[in-house]
C-alpha cells in the first residue's frame, strides 16, 4: 500500500516529517488565537458563567446586553471617540511632518543635511519614558497637562514621527528624479513639486506610515495615564482598566466586552490589509 502512494521510503518519511511539523505549527498557534477567542466568548457570558467549572467554550446564554452595559457603566463612547480623533489627528500631522522632512532629506541638497538627519535619527533610540517627566512639567507650566494637546503634539513633533521621516526618506530616495523634472521645467517651486508630484507617488509609503502611526497612538498607555486626570478626557486603554466594582475588583464581563470593542475593528482592518501592515511594521522594525 505504502509503496504505491509513496515512491520510496524516503518520500514517506519526508511526508511524515512535514505532517508532524504542520501539527506542531497548528498547536503553536493556540496561545496566539485563544486569548482573542476567549476575550470574545467571555464578553458574551454573564458574570457567573465566566467562572463556571468546567469552563464553557461557547456561552450558554448569550449576554449581548454586556455591550450595552459597557456604555452605561462609564463614558466609554466618549473614551472611544477621544481615542479615534486623537489617533486621526496624530496620523494626519505625522504624515505631513514626516513626508515633508523625509522629502527634504532625500531630494533637496542643503548644507548640513546629513548631520541634521543623523541628529534627528538619534531621537529614535530615545525612550519616551526618559522624557516623560520634563514633558509633563512643560505641559503643566503651559496649562496643557489635563488636555489632549500633549497626546497629539508630542507624537507629531517629537521622537515618534522621526521613524516616519526615516521611512519616507527611504521611499523618496528610491523614486526616479525624472518624475520631478517635468514639473521643474513648468516652473513649479519645491513645495509645488513635493505636493503635486512626489506626494501622490508616495501613496503606498504614506499608507504604511499611516497604519503604524494610528496604531501607535491608539495603543498609547503611559502618556495618557500621566497627562490625563479627568475621566471625560480618557482614551480607551485607560478606560479598559476602569470596569471595576467599588472595591477595585474587575467586572470581567464588562472589561472583556470593552476590550473586544477596542480590539475587533483593528483586527478586521489587519486581516484585510495584512500584507501591507506586516510589511510596514517590518520595515520600521522597532519594538521589543
Amino acid at each position: 500500500m505504502k509503496k504505491r502512494v509513496f515512491a520510496n521510503r524516503y518520500a514517506f518519511t519526508r511526508w511524515l516529517g512535514a505532517a508532524l511539523l504542520l501539527a506542531l505549527l497548528i498547536i503553536s498557534t493556540i496561545p496566539f488565537i485563544f486569548p482573542f477567542w476567549w476575550m470574545i466568548i467571555g464578553s458574551l457570558k454573564n458574570p457567573t458563567e465566566i467562572f463556571a467549572f468546567p469552563p464553557t467554550l461557547l456561552p450558554k446564554a448569550w449576554q449581548w446586553q454586556n455591550y450595552v452595559e459597557v456604555f452605561r457603566y462609564q463614558p466609554y463612547a466618549l473614551h472611544y471617540f477621544n481615542s479615534v480623533y486623537i489617533a486621526v489627528l496624530v496620523t494626519i500631522g505625522t504624515l505631513f511632518v514626516a513626508s515633508l522632512s523625509g522629502y527634504a532629506f532625500a531630494r533637496i541638497p542643503f548644507p548640513g543635511r546629513s548631520v541634521l538627519f543623523i541628529l534627528l535619527l538619534s531621537s529614535i533610540m530615545m525612550p519616551a519614558e526618559v522624557l516623560i517627566i520634563p514633558n509633563f512639567f512643560m505641559m503643566k507650566m503651559l496649562g496643557l497637562s489635563d488636555t489632549h494637546f500633549p497626546l497629539i503634539a508630542i507624537p507629531i513633533l517629537g521622537a515618534p514621527a522621526v521613524v516616519g521621516t526615516f521611512m519616507m526618506r527611504q521611499f523618496f530616495v528610491s523614486i526616479p528624479r525624472e518624475i520631478e523634472d517635468a514639473a521643474t521645467v513648468d516652473g513649479a517651486n519645491r513645495f509645488g513639486i513635493f505636493w503635486h508630484v512626489a506626494l501622490p507617488v508616495a501613496t503606498p509609503a504614506l499608507g504604511g506610515l499611516a497604519i503604524l502611526t494610528y496604531l501607535a497612538s491608539w495603543n498609547l498607555f503611559l502618556e495618557p495615564l500621566v497627562f490625563l486626570d479627568s475621566i471625560n478626557l480618557w482614551t480607551i486603554p485607560l478606560s479598559l482598566r476602569n470596569f471595576v466594582d467599588p472595591y477595585g475588583a474587575p467586572l470581567w464581563h464588562l472589561q472583556l466586552a470593552a476590550t473586544t470593542l477596542s480590539v475587533l475593528p483593528i483586527l478586521i482592518i489587519y486581516v484585510v490589509a495584512q500584507r501591507q501592515i506586516v510589511d510596514s511594521f517590518a520595515t520600521s522594525g522597532v519594538k521589543g
Partner: protein, 312 residues
C-alpha cells in the same frame, strides 16, 4: 540624445542650465530648511530640551505635589546606589525579565520563521496568526491574559484541573508572576521578529543549501553550518532591538500584576512612574530615568559598533 551635448549649441545649453541650477540650488536649500523646520523645532522642544531638563531634575530634590525644587547635587544618585534597596531589586527584576525574554523570543521566532520559510499551502495564515498580537494594544493583551491566568477560577487553571493538575496562582506567586509576564510579552511581540527573520532567511541564496545537500549535509548541518552563520547579523539586530524594547516594558506589567506580588515584577520604567507620579519624587525619578537613558544609549552604541564590524 547624448550626441547633442558635443555640438556647440549643446554645450551652451548645458552651461546655461548649470548657471540656472546654481541659483536654483540656493533657493532650494532654503526650501530644504523650511521643509525640516517643523520637525527640527519639535526635536528641540520635545527631545533635546526635556533631555537636558531630566538631567537637571536628577540633581534636584523635587516634589510634584508641593512644586518644590532644591538642588542637591548627586544626592539622588547616591541614594539610588546605596540607600534604596528597592532600586536594586528593580534592577534585578529588569535584568531577569530581559535576560529571559530576549533568548526566549529569539529562539521561538527563529524556530517559527524556519518552519514558515519552506513554502506550503496556508503558510501565510500562520504568519497572520503569529502577527495578530503585534497590532493589538498591549493593554488589551495584558487584560485578557490577566483574566486567563487568575488564581483559582482562572481559565488556565480550570483547564489544568480538567486534566487533574492543580495550577499555581500564577499572578500572585512571585516566581510565576514573573514567568507569566515574560511569556505573555513574548507572545505579544514575537510575531514581529518572526517576520524580520523570515525575510532574512528568504534572502539566503538557495544555491548555498543546494550545494551543501549535494555534498551530503543533512537538515541539521545545513541549519547549523550554513543558515545560522548567515543569519547572525539579523539575529544580532533583532536581539538588540528586542532587548531595548524589553527595558521599556510598562503597560503590560502594570495591567497584569501592577508590579506585584510584593514588587516581584516591578521593573525600571514602572519604578520611574511609581516614584514620579504615585510618590511625587520627580527628582529621584529623573535620576532613575537617566539610568534608563544611559543603559539604552549604551546598547544603541553597542549595536552600531557591532553592525559596523559586520559591514567591514
Amino acid at each position: 540624445m547624448s550626441t547633442n551635448i558635443s555640438t556647440p549649441r549643446g554645450t551652451a545649453a548645458v552651461k546655461q542650465k548649470k548657471r540656472r541650477a546654481s541659483t536654483l540650488a540656493g533657493r532650494d536649500a532654503l526650501w530644504g530648511y523650511l521643509f525640516i523646520l517643523p520637525q527640527l523645532l519639535g526635536f528641540l522642544i520635545f527631545v533635546v530640551g526635556p533631555l537636558i531638563a531630566v538631567i537637571v531634575f536628577s540633581t534636584q530634590d523635587r516634589n510634584l505635589l508641593f512644586g518644590t525644587a532644591t538642588p542637591v547635587g548627586l544626592d539622588n544618585y547616591r541614594t539610588l546606589l546605596t540607600g534604596d534597596a528597592l532600586f536594586w531589586q528593580v534592577m534585578q527584576n529588569t535584568l531577569y525579565f530581559s535576560l529571559l525574554l530576549v533568548p526566549l523570543n529569539i529562539v521561538v521566532a527563529l524556530a517559527l520563521a524556519l518552519a514558515l520559510a519552506r513554502p506550503f499551502r496556508g503558510a501565510h495564515l500562520f504568519r497572520l496568526v503569529y502577527f495578530a498580537p503585534v497590532v493589538t494594544a498591549a493593554a488589551a493583551w495584558a487584560i485578557v491574559w490577566r483574566f486567563i491566568l487568575q488564581g483559582e477560577n482562572g481559565t488556565l487553571n480550570q483547564f489544568l484541573r480538567l486534566v487533574g493538575i492543580d495550577g499555581p496562582n500564577w499572578l500572585h506567586d512571585p516566581f510565576w508572576a514573573m514567568q507569566a509576564v515574560i511569556a505573555t510579552r513574548v507572545l505579544k511581540n514575537v510575531g514581529l521578529n518572526i517576520v524580520v527573520l523570515l525575510g532574512a532567511i528568504l534572502n539566503i541564496p538557495a544555491q548555498y543549501e543546494e550545494a551543501a545537500r549535494v555534498d551530503g549535509a543533512g537538515s541539521w548541518r545545513v541549519f547549523w553550518n550554513i543558515k545560522l552563520p548567515l543569519l547572525a547579523p539579523a539575529l544580532l539586530f533583532v536581539s538588540v532591538i528586542t532587548l531595548i524594547g524589553s527595558l521599556k516594558v510598562f503597560d503590560h506589567i502594570m495591567l497584569m500584576t501592577a508590579g506585584g506580588p510584593g514588587n516581584s515584577t516591578m521593573v525600571l520604567v514602572y519604578y520611574i512612574y511609581y516614584q514620579a507620579f504615585q510618590f511625587f519624587q520627580t527628582g529621584y525619578a529623573s535620576a532613575l530615568a537617566v539610568v534608563l537613558f544611559v543603559v539604552t544609549l549604551g546598547l544603541t552604541i553597542l549595536q552600531w559598533v557591532l553592525r559596523k564590524e559586520e559591514i567591514q
